[in-house]
Symmetry: C2
Subunit: 312 residues, 2 copies
Amino acid sequence: MSEPDNQAFDQGQHGHLVIVGGHEDRESSKEILSRFVQLAGGEAAVIAVITAASRVPDTMWERYDTVFRELGARDIVHVALPDRATANDAEQAARVRGCSGIWMTGGDQKRLLAMIGGTLLDEAMHGALKESGACIGGTSAGASAMCGHMLADGKADLLPEKGSVSLGAGLGFVQRVVIDQHFSERHRLARLLSIVAQNPYLLGIGIDEDTALVVERGVGIEVIGAGSVTVVDGRHVVSNVADIAAGGTPQMIDVRLHLLPSGSSFALPEEAGQQNQLQRATGAGDMATAAPPAPPALADFVRIVTKRNPRS
Amino acid sequence: MSEPDNQAFDQGQHGHLVIVGGHEDRESSKEILSRFVQLAGGEAAVIAVITAASRVPDTMWERYDTVFRELGARDIVHVALPDRATANDAEQAARVRGCSGIWMTGGDQKRLLAMIGGTLLDEAMHGALKESGACIGGTSAGASAMCGHMLADGKADLLPEKGSVSLGAGLGFVQRVVIDQHFSERHRLARLLSIVAQNPYLLGIGIDEDTALVVERGVGIEVIGAGSVTVVDGRHVVSNVADIAAGGTPQMIDVRLHLLPSGSSFALPEEAGQQNQLQRATGAGDMATAAPPAPPALADFVRIVTKRNPRS
C-alpha cells in the first residue's frame, strides 16, 4: 500500500475526523457533538447526516437534526438512502461534496458500506475531506466505518480467539488502523486483540462510549468526552497465531498498549531537521498549537492516524 | 530491594509455585490440582491445606482433602487456624516445614495475611520452599497472597482509576509482581493497570479461572488449565498518574502486554556466556527441558517470577 507523505494544505484546511465510540451525550454538555459542529464551521456549517447504517433512519435524522440545530447549525440535510442507486445520484453527491460537515449515525457498519461503498456519495465524502477540509464525524457503526479495514463482525468474549472477528472494506478516511467502539463498556479488548494478532499491520483503536478521538489531519489528535481511547499496537508481537487452530487463543508477547483518557492531546512530532509546517502555517484554532508532541512510543500512531491517503 | 541471583540448588530441588486464578476444576480432568499433587511428590506427597483465607475453613478442608486423595495423595493435613496464636504454634509450624506440598485455599487474602503474616507458620512455608523444594500452591485469594506486594482491595470497573486499588504485604514467595485472579472472567485488566500505573516496579499478573501459572524456580514457567495468564509490564510507561487527582483515569503510554494461553511454557533464558546450570543439572521432570527460552520481551518476566528472594 503506497501512501503519500502528509502535505501542506492550502488555507489551513486539513480536514478533521471526529470518531465517536457511541452513546455520545445529546442532552447535557453535548461536548462531542458541539465540537463536531464547531469544526464544521459553527453557524456557517453545512451538515449532511448519513443515516444509512440504521434501520430507523428517520428517527436518527430527527435526533441529529434537533441537536445540531440546538448547537447553532442552521443548514442541515438528511442524506436519505432508500437504496444503493440513490447513493449514486449525482445531484445528491454534489450536495454532500459541498458540505463542511458529514455525520454518520450508528447502526450496522456493514449495512452502511453495502449502501455507499464505492458510490458517488463515497467519492463526494472523500472529496469534501480532501479538497475542502470538511469534518467527517461518525458514532458507533459510523466510527468503525471510517477506516480502510473495517471491523465487520464477530466477538471474542473473554480472550482473543483466532478467526472470530471478520474485517470488511471500510470507507478509508484513515488507513492502517481498525476501530472498535463501546470499547470499555462492552469489554472489547479481547475482540480487538483477535484482529491485531492476525493483522499486526493494523493498529487497533478502541473508543469508549461518549468519547471521541478527534483527528486534525497532518497536525495532531485529541481525546474528548467521558472515557478513554485505547490503542493496541501489535507490530512487535511474537505470536503463534499462524500455527493454532481456529477458535484457539493466540499467544501474544509484546503487545504495546496506550490508554489515552479524555483530555489527552498530542501533536504530530516534528521530523528531525524540519519544522511542522502545518502547525506553523495555521497558527490558531485547534489542539495542535497547545498539544505536546507525541512521545516516541505513540509517535507512529499519531503519524498514521493523521495521515492523508491516496483517496483523501 | 536487594535480590540475590538465582543460585544452583542441591538435588534439583528448586521449589515450585502453582498460582491458580480460582475455580480450578475439581470434578473432571482436575488438571491443575493433579499437577500440584504431582509436583508435591504424588503418592509420597505430604500436603498441608491452609484454609485461613476462608470463613468456611472446614468446608474448604473437606473439599481439598477429598480431591487430593482422589489424585493419589495419602498424607494430607488440615492446618486449622482459629486464631493467630495457632499460627505461631511451634509444633504445627514444624509439621508444615516438613511438607512437600502446601495449598492455600480461596477466601480473602487480607484475612489470610492477618492470620499468618510474620508467624512461625509463615517462616515454615518459606523454609519448606527454600530448603526442601516444596511446591506451594494457592487459588484465588491464595494466589494473590503469594507475592510480596499483595493486591488487597479495590476495583476499577471499566478504566484504570488512580487510588482505587490498595496493596498490602503478602507472603513474598515471589517478588516484584502483583497477582490478580478470576482475571478475564471479571474483566480485571483495568484494576491491574490501576496498580501498575502507580507501581511500575511491579509486573502485573492476571490469571484466569481454572488456569495456573506454574513456576519452577530458577528454571522456567508454564501455563496450564483452561484460560490464559496476562502479564502487564508498565516499566516503560509514560504516564501522568502522579499529577492527576484521585479517581481520575491515568494516561498510560507504552504498556507492554503479554497474553500466555494454556500450553505456553518458557525456560529462563541462558545468560550470555553461561549455560543454564539448573536445566543442565536436573535433566528430567518439568517443563524446562522442553520449553523454549523466553523471547527477549518476556525474558525479564521469566527472570523475575522464577527468582529466589532473600527469604525463600
